[in-house]
Symmetry: C2
Subunit: 307 residues, 2 copies
């Protein structure tokens, strides 16, 4: 059994690779919900949807988020009605948000996510990190901003000072996350190449999750989201610089504070050191499904070598 | 000051005609909300939206409901997610429902309707009959059905026995409806050519509305929705037959129980009698805006002749 913790685009790509090389009963994908938010009356769960759409193969490759073949008539009409247009909700994507909101009264976010993933044809289990709301709040030089207001509305332009995860102390880890952490058959935990501060930290902020990971017999391996000392996507690089975490294997290991047994790094970073964490260098940029599969296989082999 | 009570398509067309010949401060359009319903997490207000879209000139003429140039990506995606597809919500139309639902917590339906109508460029005031929920429930040979379930989902196929307006006794007439009824300058009340049982009766079921209309000094004139003894649209004819109301001027006058001072009827029904109600025969089918305007002018002149 492999537990994968994932956030946005990079995390979703590795999760798809893992799903391509592991049967559904051997993989549990747990997704960050810290960047979820209420918008235009919907509950929008960007990371859950990115992971689901990517695993279903219906994600928009050019755009990097949302659905392929999306249309925007709703947003156009919202604009004409004087509504908020800074966060794009596609016509098809809206069906996901409407389904989720309509089900929320009588279903957990875990159950709703399983329903949506099933309808998208995904065989592997995908679950939120928690069924309780956790909201990432970024403290900036313009004051505190809800995550999407900081990240999308203000395009990550305000200076990032710190982040907190509202509700995390009271939130229970989701049943799927708890079950994986307690599974005696757990072989490894993979931290997907998602932004450690924005996407992985909210999961680690849930009660007992960090403590259970620290006490775990199985190896914990992160796939570095950095290549050649750079974050792959623009805002992440700026944020990491503002946070003061070096975009290197050592910076990553330091940020996770000794949690990692190993890090899969890019060849461009070969020769680095990262404290007590073992390193495995390979090509980490995932351009297509072959890249995803190969990186997933190598990561699993590396993790198993650390047992 | 003219008060117009309106329901669906026919009512919306005459309301548009009235708006074309009266300045905004001389017309109050009050719309049935008995066929409103909660669907996929939205509050759908079919009659309010039909009236607003028609007055804004953005209604879909071919379809008879919804917006011109509509697209259906959302419905397609809802179907793929296993959601309910029996009630069509267009991508652009959804922006109206989402805006309404997002505003509902802190705004009355009257305020929301005024906001949406304003954004659509409508100068004339349009208001719901009440800010409180009223829900038409149809008793049929298949049991009681919420109105849209009867009308759209079951295509009005079950045999109509009776209709009740859930919540009507506790609902307050909207501020705009009360203000019109109390306005000393009120010259006439026009019952637009909407289905009397489905669209006008819910308005009359509100506390005091019927009593105030009966006590009114100004004339009350209905524009008949029947032509040549037939209801213009299919389901209405079937429903009227099942209710046992003759689709004639006399049937209409009888249904309203002496409330009407006059009825505008189609030339095809000229020569009819309708108890104490005066009759004015003209062409009542509204194919275009010229028809709407002419019928509105004739109706106003006829009403003024009854003062």
């Amino acid at each position: 059994m492999i537990l994968a913790l994932a956030g946005g685009v990079g995390g979703a790509r590795l999760a798809r690779g893992l799903a391509a090389v592991l049967p559904p009963e051997k993989l549990s994908i747990i997704v960050n919900t810290g960047d979820d938010f209420e918008h235009l009356g919907f509950l929008v769960c960007p990371d859950l949807d990115t992971v689901c759409y990517t695993l279903a193969g219906v994600n928009n490759l050019a755009q990097g988020w949302g659905l392929a073949g999306e249309s925007w008539a709703f947003m156009d009409a919202i604009g004409k009605l004087g509504g908020e247009t800074w966060f794009n909700l596609g016509d098809r994507d809206l069906a996901t948000h409407a389904t989720r909101r309509a089900m929320l009264g009588s279903n957990s976010l875990s159950a709703i996510t399983a329903h949506i993933a099933g309808k998208l044809g995904i065989a592997h289990p995908i679950a939120p990190m928690s069924d309780d709301p956790v909201r990432s709040i970024v403290d900036t030089d313009e004051g505190e901003l809800a995550f999407q207001h900081y990240f999308v509305r203000r395009r990550a332009e305000p200076r990032f000072r710190s982040i907190r995860f509202d509700g995390a102390e009271a939130a229970r880890p989701s049943p799927a996350l708890l079950a994986s952490l307690e599974d005696p058959a757990l072989e490894a935990v993979i931290l997907c190449p998602s932004n450690p501060v924005l996407s992985i930290a909210p999961i680690l902020a849930l009660p007992e999750v960090r403590a259970r990971l620290e006490a775990l017999g199985a190896p914990i391996v992160a796939v570095s989201p950095f290549i050649g000392g750079q974050a792959i996507k623009g805002p992440a690089a700026k944020i990491m610089a503002e946070i003061g975490i070096a975009t290197t294997p050592a910076g990553l290991a330091g940020y996770y504070g000794g949690l990692l047994d190993g890090i899969v790094i890019d060849r461009a970073d070969a020769g680095s050191e990262a404290g007590s964490a073992a390193l495995h260098a390979t090509d980490t940029l995932m351009r297509n499904s072959d890249d995803q599969k190969r990186l997933a296989s190598e990561t699993l082999a590396f993790a198993r070598s650390l047992r």
